[in-house]
């Protein structure tokens, strides 16, 4: 067994309600081990260095730590803040909103156990999450309720006493016809080498609409493993924006099942990496019913020695006729040492399907760069302007305040003057 698992799978104190599900997860994880280089799903993300690391199980000081984080501006229906995986009441704001029900799972171990049991882990990191999760949140929107202001869930990573592994669970349930805007903000309060794990499940009833914005600006140096798992009922709409700019090693499995007839996914995403960052996004969409649609457009930028991985898989199941599947992934390499691996995969088992997919990896357009410079823009500013425009192409419909925040996040990651062309 790896040093990582050894350090995390020892005896621990946990609420009795969680004992059974945790033991099962631990046993499964001992049996399975971490994925290796021959595992197709981990082909471009090596865990060899991570396996040698040791972490303490959870941050027992998480409730006390002073953190320095800029929360997103604007009104919200609720803001839930977790520091190293533990809920912080002092930083959260939860008011009473009709039709909106927010439960903190750390206080309801029985509910947490039920959620963990309802969705058995499918991989090692899912098992690790189930084995370690002590806290989380469940957000429920009653059928027909339309929540106007967004709900914010903020995941703060901060240095602890030594390196810690933290896990939490997010469960979002929208009743039939319900609507919600949800913002997930991953942010670092200071650089740290902690390992975070978040498993989030989204259940959309018939005609429900979820607008989800995921801003991953995790702490410098941190590892972050996330799974976002959505299931859509008939005519449900899942509008997703994902921005990945933070953490040292980030893996995000984004799994969407279009189960009800007419269910639609719209996914817009950007990753922008520098230094030695490694970010791996694995998107898997299944069209399981007739007349379902997905429209996926992601852009990636890698500078310096960073590495970006994008795997976009769309499966159209037998019988899912009338499906419309569109996937595009365009990438920019800003340095000779950076690497981007992109793999669009389309698997079709139905007859009447409209599908298109494409992926490109290129460099900044020298002609455009010269045009900007010939008007007086310094090289670094010209490069930043072009990269920002490249990323911005998939962010056009974000509301202005959020867009400004995302632009600022991206700008902070974009090429600096000293970057090598």
């Amino acid at each position: 067994m790896s040093a990582l698992l050894e350090s995390l799978l020892g005896e621990r104190a946990a609420p009795a309600a969680l004992a059974g599900v945790r033991e099962a997860a631990i046993a499964a994880l001992r049996e399975r081990g971490l994925p290796g280089p021959r595992d197709e799903a981990w082909k471009y993300t090596s865990l060899r260095a991570l396996e040698q690391r040791r972490y303490a199980d959870g941050d027992c000081g998480a409730r006390m730590r002073a953190i320095d984080v800029g929360f997103l501006p604007g009104p919200s229906a609720a803001r839930l803040v977790f520091v190293n995986g533990i809920h912080r009441e002092d930083l959260s704001e939860v008011g009473a909103v009709t039709g909106l029900d927010i439960e903190r799972l750390g206080e309801r171990p029985d509910e947490l156990a039920a959620i963990l049991r309802s969705a058995p882990p499918v991989d090692a990191f899912g098992e690790l999450n189930a084995a370690l999760a002590l806290d989380g949140v469940r957000v429920r929107v009653a059928a027909g309720a339309r929540i106007q202001a967004p709900v914010q869930i903020v995941h703060v990573g901060t240095p602890a006493d030594g390196d810690v592994a933290w896990s939490l669970r997010v469960q979002v349930e929208l009743g039939d016809g319900a609507q919600l805007r949800l913002i997930e903000h991953h942010v670092g309060s200071a650089p740290n080498a902690n390992l975070g794990s978040i498993v989030a499940a989204y259940r959309l009833g018939a005609r429900a609409r979820l607008d989800l914005i995921q801003l991953q600006d995790g702490a410098e140096g941190a590892g972050l493993f996330r799974r976002s798992d959505a299931v859509l009922g008939s005519d449900a709409i899942f509008d997703l924006h994902t921005v990945e700019v933070g953490a040292q090693l980030a893996r995000h499995d984004l799994v969407v099942a279009l189960e009800g007839r007419g269910a639609r996914l719209r996914s817009r995403g950007v990753f922008a990496l520098r230094g030695r960052q490694h970010a791996d996004t694995r998107l898997a969409v299944t069209h399981a019913a007739r007349d379902t649609a997905c429209d996926i457009a992601w852009r990636g930028v890698a500078d310096q020695r960073s590495r970006g991985v994008f795997h976009g898989a769309i499966t159209v199941a037998a019988g899912a006729d009338g499906a419309d599947a569109q996937l595009s992934n365009k990438n920019l390499l800003l340095s000779a040492q950076a690497e981007i691996d992109t793999q669009p995969v389309l698997e079709i088992h139905a007859d009447e399907v409209k599908a298109a997919h494409g992926a490109t990896v290129g460099q900044l357009d020298e002609r455009a760069l010269f045009y900007l410079r010939s008007r007086g823009l310094p090289l670094d500013l010209a490069r930043r302007m072009l990269v920002a425009a490249f990323c911005g192409a998939v962010l056009d419909d974000l509301e202005p305040a959020l867009r400004a925040r995302v632009d600022a996040l991206l700008a902070a990651r974009l090429p600096q003057a000293e970057a090598t062309p």
């Binding site: 010269f370 010939s374 008007r375 302007m385």
Partner: protein, 259 residues
């Protein structure tokens, strides 16, 4: 203002300019005419600092400085402007934002105060009025989806806004109908000034009916082979470039020239 001496330039290993010399004083308009492949666009690109143009010998002095030692953005800030033959489309970069950033970058380089958005818009409106341009162009991405004529007009608009000292127009007339041509020429003529010089590169004489040059040069096979006043352009129009080629028999083909 500009003094080019014996300029040799290679592009992708091939010598394109083969000893070009040219001197332009402030306040003058010089036209460079020549057949396709003579090196007209190479001259504009090398003066603006485009990569891939290797100067093997020769000097370019601009306002007493070695122009070739400057980065493209430094040349711009020092007052060199190239109106592109093929302006580049830049999706996602708003035209107004781009122009303000460019103008302010130049001003910063020159130690001048940057313009805030109100001051900038005031300046923009002045220039738009002079050029009879629709301000709708400003709200779009740089050249994206512009017609050929709109792109060229946008170049002239940038020229008006950035107020360079040396403006190089690289076949700005190509692809323009007569109305657009007039508008471009009006824009240039409105900018003529004792402190400003123009280098107008063109294939056809037509543009020079509207932008009347002080000096016309004929560029052939990488060299200036003939210079004269505006009547030279008319002669070229009448006789074609073959006329020039006949008068300047290349040295290596000199067998019949001795008599």
């Amino acid at each position: 203002m500009l003094k080019i001496v014996d300029l040799h330039v290679r592009v992708a290993g091939k010598e394109i300019l083969k000893g070009l010399s040219l001197e332009i004083a402030a306040g003058q308009v010089h036209a460079i005419m020549g057949p396709n492949g003579a090196g007209k666009s190479t001259l504009g690109n090398v003066l603006a600092g485009r990569e891939g143009y290797e100067v093997t010998t020769g000097t370019v002095e601009y306002q007493g400085r070695d122009l070739l030692a400057l980065e493209p953005e430094e040349r711009a800030a020092e007052g060199v402007f190239l109106a592109f033959q093929y302006p580049v489309e830049i999706p996602g970069v708003n035209n107004t934002y781009f122009l303000r950033a460019a103008l302010n970058a130049q001003r910063k380089h020159r130690g001048e105060a940057e313009l805030d958005s109100m001051q900038f818009l005031k300046k923009v409106r002045e220039k738009l009025a002079v050029l009879h341009l629709k301000d709708e162009l400003l709200h779009r991405a740089v050249n994206e989806g512009f017609s050929g004529g709109e792109k060229k007009r946008n170049e002239i608009f940038q020229l008006a806004l950035l107020e360079p000292r040396l403006a190089i127009l690289d076949e700005t007339d190509s692809g323009l109908d007569i109305d657009a041509l007039r508008m471009v020429a009006d824009g240039v003529n409105a900018m003529r000034d004792p402190a400003r010089a123009f280098l107008v590169v063109t294939h056809y004489q037509r543009l020079l009916d509207y932008i009347v040059p002080d000096v016309v040069h004929v560029l052939a096979d990488g060299r200036i082979v003939e210079s004269g006043d505006k009547s030279l352009a008319l002669k070229l129009e009448e006789h074609g470039y073959a006329w020039i080629a006949g008068r300047h028999v290349p040295a290596h083909d000199g067998a019949g020239a001795g008599g």
